[in-house]
């Protein structure tokens, strides 16, 4: 099945560890400068999504009991919607208020173009609203 967002095994391991220590998780994709363009990981509900946001995916992560929601502002989604996103993790320091930073790692987005086949499949599945 076509997806908009996937997770690498390394990122899934970090999510499992964060879930165990903190509770249910969510992502909101940032934009702008400094640590912009980074996915921010919060406790579910910590960041209040609204009508200006789009739910790209409810990620099923092995070992995490509930889906991990992945959000983006609707305006940014219009500019990103032709790409598929993979949440990965790298050694790093920053930043924002993302949960994983104190562990010395940082979630990172890797992107590729959606294929025509995927775009057609996803067109039938409208992303959710906040």
């Amino acid at each position: 099945m076509a997806t908009r967002v996937d997770v690498t095994p390394a990122a899934a391991a970090v999510m499992r560890s964060l879930r165990e220590r903190h509770g249910p998780l969510m992502f909101h994709q940032s934009g702008g400068c400094c640590d912009g363009s980074s996915p921010m990981c919060y406790l579910e509900g910590e960041f209040r999504t609204g009508a200006s946001d789009v739910l790209l995916e409810s990620l099923r992560v092995e070992g995490v009991p509930e889906p991990v929601t992945f959000w983006m502002s609707g305006a940014q989604f219009q500019l990103w919607k032709h790409t598929h996103l993979t949440v990965d993790v790298v050694p790093g320091r920053g930043a924002g208020f993302s949960l994983e930073a104190p562990d010395g790692v940082r979630f990172l987005i890797r992107s590729r173009l959606l294929t025509e086949h995927e775009q057609a499949a996803l067109a039938d599945r409208r992303p959710g609203q906040g």
């Binding site: 702008g32 912009g36 921010m40 790409t83 320091r93 930073a101 992107s111």
Partner: protein, 507 residues
């Protein structure tokens, strides 16, 4: 040419302490939980000191100290506060070279920039607000013969300042100088990527401020930044960063009904009209330098001119001259005064830039130069270096729409003024922009037509204290720099006074 020795090594002009605690109430205080984290230099990737890992308990202690000091500080005369700001500036000027080397080592930026820009600008910023404060006056409104409205500027009280890592000392100064001038006590959280240079700065000036007026709590955003930004004990929060954290900070502020200043970045267009190339003269040379400005500070500037829009009439020739200009930039040891491009500030920043080089190519953009990590030899081998990169593509590509925060510029062409404005404004952001032309009427129309808070005209990357800086659209709320910043850190007190002994006659 000078090559400075790394801080703390033989022949170095400056040394960092091996550990920095929190600065609270005029003294260094260890973290409540006793934890520290390592602080690596991006020049070689190796740790050079450790930093207290702050938590909510440390933030509370800092807020206690700030509240203890705020009233007295707010009541000091403006002359007294201005003198203190001048003395801070003087100390910084006496130690400029040391500060410049310390900051370059921590951030990875070339020392030629910290010597010539970051530190001189920061010094001038303290002096500017020392002067602006003395000239600020309230107003008197004579409503009628008996009734007068006085307007006083009063400090907000205790304010929270959350600092980014791209200009550790200058960005702290942009918030600190007006906040302190306006009479506030401050709790400042440096970026976790660059916490040490602000402590070296503090070591030079700490004796000048009364205890508790300036407090510094180190740590990670989620552990120290969040309890600070969400505290009901702050009267304002000022933040520089990105949109998601900006929104989160605004959510916290809404819970406490306090104001925010947010500077959240951009994707700044830099427009080069045909007449830049009408003569091979000084102005043509200056325009090419303006193009290459995307590489300043390795592109880690919120106003990085990361979209170059070149008018069609001179597109090919101007771009080929610009590529040559960029290929001549010298990348290397940030502590060498000849180096123009240093290291990216952190490993995750490096990885993010590489991920954009990847999606740029996938979307069909063509790298005219650069396009990869730079592997530097010897002592720099573990550092985070990226080749200055010029991509040619179109404005709908993600590399044209997102701030990469690296030495990467995305180039496209425009037909005429209207087309140039359309492309320039086709972005979620509106922080900076550049306009290059010999025709001042065209410059004026372009500058007024671009929806951004700052339009540099025939210049770029100037940051004088006297010019307002801030964003339109999703680039943020509020301004920094300029006298108007005093208002951003003050309340208005209105005394409405009747000088008549007579009753109003209503009751």
């Amino acid at each position: 040419m000078t090559v400075y020795a790394p801080p703390g090594t033989d022949g170095a002009i400056v040394a960092y302490e091996s550990r920095y605690d929190h600065w609270i109430g005029g003294e260094y205080v260890p973290p409540a939980k006793g934890q520290y984290f390592e602080n690596p230099s991006p020049v070689n990737g190796r740790p050079f000191c450790e930093i207290a890992r702050g938590t909510a308990d440390d933030v509370e202690r800092a807020l206690d100290a700030a509240h203890g000091a705020a009233d007295a500080w707010g009541r000091t005369s403006v002359a007294e506060r201005a003198v203190i700001l001048h003395r801070i500036a003087d100390r910084m000027e006496e130690n400029l070279e040391k500060l410049a080397v310390a900051e370059a080592w921590e951030n990875g930026k070339p020392v030629r920039e910290t010597l010539a820009a970051d530190l001189p600008l920061a010094i001038d910023h303290f002096r500017y607000f020392a002067g602006a404060l003395r000239a600020q006056e309230g107003t008197v409104g004579e409503l009628d013969d008996d009734t007068v409205a006085y307007h006083f500027h009063e400090p907000l009280g205790v304010v929270a300042l959350i600092i980014p890592w791209n200009f550790p000392i200058l960005m702290a100064t942009w918030k600190l100088a007006p906040a302190l001038a306006a009479g506030n006590a401050v709790v400042l959280k440096p970026a976790e990527q660059t916490p040490a240079s602000i402590h070296y700065w503090l070591s030079l000036i700490a004796d000048l401020l009364p205890p508790g007026v300036l407090n510094i709590v180190n740590g990670f955003g989620v552990e120290a930044g969040k309890p600070l930004a969400s505290s009901p004990r702050i009267a304002k929060v000022a933040f520089t960063g990105e949109t998601t954290t900006g929104r989160l900070i605004m959510q916290y502020a809404s819970e406490n009904l306090i104001p925010v200043t947010l500077e959240l970045g951009g994707k700044s267009p830099n427009l080069f009209f045909d007449d830049c190339s009408s003569a091979d003269d000084e102005f043509f040379d200056k325009s090419l330098e303006g193009f290459a400005m995307f590489a300043l500070n390795q592109g880690e500037v919120c106003t990085c001119p990361s979209r170059a829009l070149i008018q069609q009439g001179h597109y090919t020739d101007f771009l080929s001259a610009a590529v040559k200009r960029v290929e001549n930039l010298k990348q290397g040891n940030p502590l060498d005064t000849d180096t123009q491009i240093g290291a990216q500030a952190s490993n995750d920043q490096l990885e993010k830039i590489l991920s954009y080089l990847d999606i740029g190519r996938q979307e069909g953009a063509r790298a005219l130069t650069g396009g990869a990590r730079a592997d530097l030899p010897g002592d720099l081998a573990g550092g985070y270096y990226v080749q200055p990169t010029i991509f040619e593509g179109s404005n709908s590509m993600r590399i044209f729409q997102e701030e990469i925060f690296g030495p990467v510029v995305s180039v496209t062409s425009f037909a005429d003024l209207a087309d140039g404005l359309k492309i320039a404004n086709d972005t979620l952001y509106g922080l900076g922009a550049g306009v290059w032309t010999r025709d001042m009427n065209q410059a004026y129309r372009a500058g007024r037509g671009i929806k951004a808070g700052r339009v540099w005209t025939n210049c770029y990357h100037l940051y004088p204290a006297h010019a307002a800086f801030g964003g339109y659209k999703q680039s943020g709320i509020g301004r920094e720099n300029h006298r108007m910043m005093l208002d951003h850190y003050q309340q208005t007190k209105n005394l409405l006074i009747s000088y008549s002994p007579k009753a109003a006659g209503l009751f």
